[in-house]
C-alpha cells in the first residue's frame, strides 16, 4: 500500500538518501532500524511531505507523490496527510487544547465531521489508550507516556490507512516506553499498517513483520526480524547489532 521508488535527497553536497526503494503492504508493521544519521527519520518524513526529496516517487495506495517542485505535489500531499497519520518523538500535542480537544481537532476542522459523532469516537479512542479519565485536562499536566498515548489517539481519530511512528519511545523512560509499546502492539494485532523508526530492538522483534536497516542513506539489509537479528548478512548490520549489545 506504500511504495517508495529511488528516493534521493540531499542537503547541499550531502546525500542523505541515495535512491532508497521499499514497499509496505497493508497490515504490515515495518520497522526502520539503523545508526543515527543513517536517514531513517528523514525517509519516514518524506512519505507525508515533512521532508522534501529531489527525485524518485512515493505511492500511497493510488496517490502518487512526485518530488519537490513537480506538478501535483501539493494536492497529493493533502490527500496523503488525511490518510497517513504520524506520531512524533516529542508528541507535539497542542498545549492550548484539552486532551479530548486534541483528539477531535483534525476530524472536526479538517474532515468537517459532526462534533458529537467525533466526540463519541474520541472518547472511545481515549479509553482504548487507557486515558478516558483524562479527557478534560491540558497536555501539560500529563506524563510523557500519557502524552504519547494521546498523540496516538489523535492520529487514530483520522482513521488513517497507515501510521508513521518517528522514534515514539525515545523520549520516554522504560516504564512509559512499555505503556506506549503496549498500545502499538495492540494496534498491530488489529492489522494497522505501521512504519516505525525506532531504536527499540525488543519492539522490532516482538511486533515487526519486516525490518529495514538504513545506513548512510541506503538500505543495507531487509528481512524478517528473525532473519535480521539471528542471521545478519552484511557487515553493516552485524556492526550495528553488536554496537547495540555493547551499549
Amino acid at each position: 500500500m506504500i511504495q517508495l521508488q529511488n528516493i534521493v535527497k540531499s542537503y547541499g553536497p550531502h546525500l542523505i538518501l541515495q535512491g532508497v526503494s521499499m514497499q509496505v503492504k497493508k497490515g504490515e508493521v515495518c520497522v526502520l532500524l539503523g545508526p543515527s544519521g543513517g536517514g531513517k527519520s528523514t525517509l519516514l518524513r518524506t512519505i507525508n511531505g515533512l521532508e522534501t526529496f529531489e527525485s524518485g516517487e512515493i505511492r500511497v495506495g493510488e496517490i502518487v507523490l512526485p518530488p519537490t517542485g513537480a506538478a501535483g505535489r501539493e494536492s497529493a500531499l493533502t490527500q496523503i496527510r488525511q490518510r497517513v497519520g504520524m506520531v512524533f518523538q516529542q508528541f507535539h500535542l497542542f498545549p492550548h487544547r484539552t486532551v479530548i480537544q486534541n483528539v477531535m481537532e483534525a476530524p472536526v476542522h479538517v474532515l468537517r465531521r459532526p462534533v458529537e459523532e467525533v466526540r463519541t469516537q474520541a472518547m472511545a479512542l481515549l479509553e482504548r489508550v487507557g486515558l478516558g479519565h483524562k479527557q478534560d485536562v491540558y497536555p501539560g499536566s500529563l506524563s510523557g507516556g500519557q502524552q504519547q498515548r494521546v498523540a496516538i489517539a489523535r492520529t487514530l481519530a483520522m482513521n488513517p490507512q497507515a501510521i508513521l511512528f518517528d522514534e515514539p519511545t525515545s523520549a520516554l523512560d522504560p516504564r512509559m516506553t512499555a505503556e506506549v509499546t503496549a498500545v502499538m502492539s495492540d494496534l498491530a494485532r488489529d492489522g494497522q499498517t505501521m512504519i516505525v523508526v525506532t531504536h527499540g530492538l525488543g519492539f522490532a522483534r516482538a511486533v515487526g513483520h519486516t525490518v529495514h536497516l538504513l545506513h548512510a542513506g541506503t538500505i543495507a539489509e531487509s528481512g524478517t526480524p528473525g532473519e535480521i537479528f539471528e542471521n545478519p548478512q552484511t557487515d553493516v548490520t552485524r556492526a550495528f547489532l553488536s554496537d547495540l549489545h555493547k551499549a
Partner: protein
C-alpha cells in the same frame, strides 16, 4: 498672533503662578498651602540686559509669517516683523537682540524661569496678562478676518453664520484658545461649530480643503494678509472684527525694562520706523494710526476702554473681564467635568484603534513569516516605514494629505487610523516574535493531521502566539492611551489637550495635573489587572 489661550475669564495671582513653579516639590507634599510665596526676581531686568549686552527675546518660529519665520533664501536666517522689531528695541536699549526659540504657549513660563527678558510673539493684551506680566503699549493693532471658500455659494457674509442657509450650521476653524475662538463663542454661541487647530496655516488649509467639513476660518488679519497668496481658493468675508492689541511681555516687576520698551515703541511710532517695518510685511493699515498709549504707573498698558465697542452686535460693556478667582482644589469641581469628558475621548480613541492595530499587526507578522516573497518584502517595508516615522507626522499626513487626493476623513477617524497604523507596526513585531516562539513541531503535527497551512495558523499557531504576546501587547495598549495626546495636532481634544487648556486658563497646574494623572491611571490600571487575569487564566492550561 492670536494664539492667545483662554485666560481672561479666570485669574490666578502672579505670586501663585510663581510659587507653583518654584516650590513645586513642596507643593506636592502640602498642596495649596503656599499660595503666598514670594517673587523670584528682584526686578533688575534692564540692568542685566545692559550688563549682558543682549536683549533675549522669546518667540516660536512655528507660528510663522509675518511674525517670525525662516527666510526663503536661507532657512538659518530668521525674518519677520517681530524679528525687526526686536532688533529695533535692542538698538534703543543699546544692546544686541538675541532670539530664543520656545513653544509658543510656554514662552511666558520660559520668561518667568529667567530664560528670556521679553516675550515678543503676537501675545494679545488681556486683563489676565496685564495682571500677571508687564505688558507694553501695543506694537500692532490686529483685527480678525472671517474667511470662506470662493466656491461656497452659501457663505458670503457674517449673517450666513448667524442664520446659515439651509439650516446647516457652519463649521469654522480657529486656533485652539485663540482670540478668534473667544470671539465666536461670545458672539455666535452654539450657532456655529468650532474646530480647533494648533497652527495658523493649518486652520486656513483646513478651510480651503473642506477637511472634516470645515467651511471657514476666523483668522488674525495680519496672518491672512500675509498668507493670502498661498490660499487662492479662500476669500475674505465681511469687514475685520474683534480689534485687539499685540503687546510685549516682561516679568511683572521689571518695570524699568518695560518703561524702556514703551519708550522705544513710542519713538519708533513717532518717527515712522515702526510703520516702515509693518509696511514691509504688507500689514500696515489705517487701524495702526489709532494708538492706545495709556499706561499705569508701572508702565503697563491698560487697554482701550472703547476699543471693543466697534464689534458688531456689541451693545453693552464688555463683561469678559469679570474674574472668578480659582484656587486650590475647588477648581477640580469646576473643571473636572471637562477633563472627565476629554478622558472619554481618550478611551474611545484607544479602544477603537488598538483592536485594529492588533489585527493589522498580526496580518503583517503572518505575511512576513508565511507569505509569498513579494508580500514578505512589502510587509517588511510597511513595518519599517511606519515604525521609523513619528506618529505626529503620520497623523498630519493622514489628515491633510488624504483630502488632497479627494478622500475626506473626519478628525476622529483620521486619529483612529493614524494610531492604528502606527501601533500596528509594533504589534507586528511583537506577534512575529510570538509566532516564532511556537515550536516547529506544532506546525508539523498539524500538517501531518491534514491541516492546511492557513488552518494550522488559525487553529494552532496564532492562538498559542496570542497567549505569549498578552504582556507586551497590554504594555502597548497602555502606551497607546497616552499617545492619543498627539491627536490634538489634528484638532481632536482629548485628556492631555483639555488639561493644557484648563491648566493654562486657571493656573491650577498642580491640582488639575493630579486629576489628569488620576484619570490616566484609572484607564491603565484596570487594563493591567484585566490582562493579568487573562494571562493567568490562559496559563493555567500549562498546569492543570
Amino acid at each position: 498672533m492670536g494664539f492667545l489661550k483662554r485666560c481672561h475669564r479666570r485669574r490666578v495671582p502672579w505670586n501663585a503662578a510663581v510659587s507653583l513653579r518654584t516650590d513645586f516639590s513642596v507643593l506636592l507634599v502640602c498642596c495649596g498651602l503656599l499660595f503666598s510665596a514670594g517673587h523670584v526676581d528682584a526686578g533688575d531686568g534692564l540692568a542685566k540686559v545692559k550688563q549682558r549686552g543682549t536683549l533675549i527675546w522669546g518667540a516660536d518660529q512655528e507660528g510663522g509669517g509675518p511674525f517670525i519665520y525662516p527666510a526663503d533664501d536661507d532657512p538659518n536666517r530668521l525674518v519677520g516683523f517681530e524679528v525687526e522689531l526686536a532688533q529695533l528695541l535692542a538698538e534703543s536699549l543699546g544692546v544686541r537682540s538675541q532670539f530664543q526659540q520656545g513653544q509658543w504657549d510656554k514662552l511666558p513660563d520660559l520668561m518667568s524661569r529667567g530664560d528670556l527678558d521679553i516675550v515678543l510673539n503676537g501675545y494679545e493684551w488681556t486683563p489676565v496678562r496685564a495682571e500677571r506680566y508687564g505688558v507694553s503699549i501695543p506694537y500692532y493693532i490686529y483685527e480678525l478676518q472671517l474667511l470662506g471658500r470662493k466656491d461656497d455659494p452659501t457663505f458670503n457674509s457674517w449673517n450666513d453664520l448667524f442664520e446659515p442657509p439651509g439650516g446647516r450650521k457652519k463649521r469654522i476653524a480657529v486656533l485652539g484658545g485663540a482670540a478668534a475662538e473667544d470671539y465666536l463663542r461670545k458672539h455666535l454661541g452654539d450657532r456655529v461649530e468650532i474646530a480647533l487647530f494648533e497652527g495658523v496655516s493649518d486652520a486656513m488649509r483646513g478651510a480651503e480643503l473642506n477637511v472634516d467639513g470645515i467651511d471657514g476660518n476666523l483668522q488674525d488679519l495680519p496672518i491672512w494678509t500675509f498668507y493670502e497668496p498661498g490660499f487662492p481658493k479662500l476669500k475674505a468675508i465681511g469687514d475685520p472684527v474683534g480689534r485687539g492689541f499685540y503687546v510685549v511681555l516682561t516679568r511683572k516687576d521689571d518695570t524699568e525694562l518695560l518703561q524702556a520698551i514703551n519708550t522705544a515703541i513710542f519713538e519708533a511710532l513717532q518717527d515712522g520706523r515702526l510703520r516702515r517695518i509693518l509696511s514691509r510685511y504688507r500689514i500696515w493699515n489705517e487701524t495702526q494710526s489709532l494708538r492706545g498709549l495709556e499706561t499705569n504707573l508701572q508702565g503697563s498698558f491698560i487697554g482701550l476702554p472703547h476699543a471693543r465697542s466697534e464689534e458688531p452686535g456689541e451693545t453693552e460693556e464688555v463683561d469678559e473681564e469679570t474674574y472668578v478667582p480659582v484656587r486650590g482644589f475647588g477648581v477640580i469641581w469646576q473643571r473636572g467635568g471637562l477633563l472627565a469628558k476629554a478622558a472619554g475621548m481618550t478611551v474611545l480613541l484607544a479602544v477603537t484603534a488598538m483592536p485594529l492595530a492588533i489585527l493589522i499587526g498580526l496580518l503583517m507578522a503572518l505575511l512576513r513569516l508565511y507569505g509569498p516573497a513579494l508580500a514578505r518584502s512589502l510587509a517588511t517595508i510597511y513595518v519599517e516605514l511606519i515604525r521609523g516615522t513619528p506618529l505626529v507626522l503620520q497623523l498630519y499626513v493622514l489628515f491633510f494629505l488624504l483630502p488632497e487626493i479627494g478622500l475626506k476623513v473626519n478628525a476622529f477617524w483620521a486619529a483612529v487610523a493614524g494610531l492604528a497604523l502606527n501601533y500596528s507596526a509594533y504589534e507586528a513585531e511583537i506577534y512575529r516574535a510570538g509566532l516564532q516562539a511556537i515550536p516547529r513541531g506544532q506546525m508539523e503535527a498539524a500538517q501531518a493531521l491534514g491541516f492546511s497551512q492557513w488552518l494550522a495558523l488559525r487553529r494552532i499557531i496564532v492562538p498559542q502566539a496570542t497567549r505569549l504576546v498578552i504582556p507586551p501587547v497590554t504594555n502597548d495598549f497602555i502606551a497607546l492611551f497616552k499617545d492619543t495626546a498627539v491627536c490634538s495636532v489634528i484638532t481632536v481634544v482629548e485628556l492631555s489637550k483639555e488639561y493644557y487648556i484648563q491648566a493654562r486658563s486657571t493656573g491650577a497646574i498642580v491640582e488639575l495635573g493630579l486629576l489628569t494623572a488620576l484619570l490616566y491611571l484609572a484607564m491603565s490600571y484596570p487594563l493591567s489587572l484585566l490582562a493579568g487575569r487573562l494571562e493567568k487564566r490562559l496559563m493555567t492550561e500549562r498546569r492543570t
